[in-house]
Symmetry: C2
Subunit: 103 residues, 2 copies
DNA sequence: TCATTGCATAGATATCTGTCAATATATTTC
DNA sequence: GAAATATATTGACAGATATCTATGCAATGA
C-alpha cells in the first residue's frame, strides 16, 4: 500500500471521534443511527465523518432500505495493520552489518 | 493507552511528510540534518514536524552536541501497534453468541 | 398520498495546520 | 572572540477542517 494511502487512513483516525467510531465498528457492523446515539454531535457531522472514513478506504458502507450499515474494510485494515506492525523501534537494525551510517 | 493518545499518534502520522519521516526512523536513529536532506521542505518546517512527532510520544530525541538524533519510542510504538493490531474487521465477532444486536 | 424517518448535501464560520522567512540559541572550530 | 553550523522559535498567511443550521431526497408506513 502506498504511503499516501496509509497517511490518509492515519489522518482519518486522527480525529478522536472518528477513532472511537472505528473502535465501535471493530467486530461489529453498525448503522449510522446507532453510531450517532453514542456521540454528542449532530447527524450531518456524523455523516461528514463517515464520508472521510469511507474515503480513506478503512470503512465500508452497505445500504439497506433507508439505513446505512458501516463496517471495517478487511483488505484495507490488513494492509494498514501490516504497515504499522512492520515499524521497528530499534536504532540500527535498518543498517547493514549493524553499522548504522545512516545518521 | 488512551484513545486520545492513539488519536494523537494517528494525527501525527496523518501528514505524508511525517509518515515518511517515521518510515525513515524505522530501524534507524537519524539526525535532523540527514532527515532534512531527504525532503523538499525548509529546516523550520522539519523542526515543526519533529516537534509534533515527539509530542505524540512516538519519537524520541537525543541531543549530542549541536546535533539532534531522532528515533522511534519503543513503548509508544508497541502500544500503538497493539491497538491497531486489535482492530477486527469481522462484522459480528464483537457480539455475544454471534447474535449481533448492536446495530 | 402524505407524514415520518434516516441519511446526505450545501453553505457558513471559527479554528487548526503546514509552510515559509526572519531571527534566536547553542555548539563547535579557527 | 569571531565565524560557521545545527536546530529551535516567532510571526504571518493561505488553505484545510470540524462543526453547525438549513435543506434535500429517498424509503417507509399510516
Amino acid at each position: 500500500m502506498e504511503t499516501e494511502n496509509i497517511s490518509s487512513i492515519c489522518k482519518a483516525l486522527g480525529d478522536p471521534n472518528r477513532l472511537k467510531i472505528v473502535q465501535m465498528l471493530s467486530g461489529c457492523e453498525k448503522c449510522a443511527c446507532v453510531i450517532l446515539r453514542a456521540f454528542d454531535i449532530t447527524q450531518p457531522t456524523l455523516s461528514h465523518h463517515m464520508k472521510i472514513l469511507c474515503g480513506s478506504g478503512l470503512v465500508n458502507v452497505r445500504k439497506d432500505g433507508k439505513w446505512s450499515y458501516y463496517s471495517l474494510n478487511c483488505e484495507t485494515l490488513r494492509d494498514f495493520q501490516e504497515f504499522i506492525g512492520a515499524l521497528d523501534c530499534e536504532k540500527n537494525t535498518g543498517c547493514a552489518d549493524g553499522k548504522c551510517d545512516c545518521r
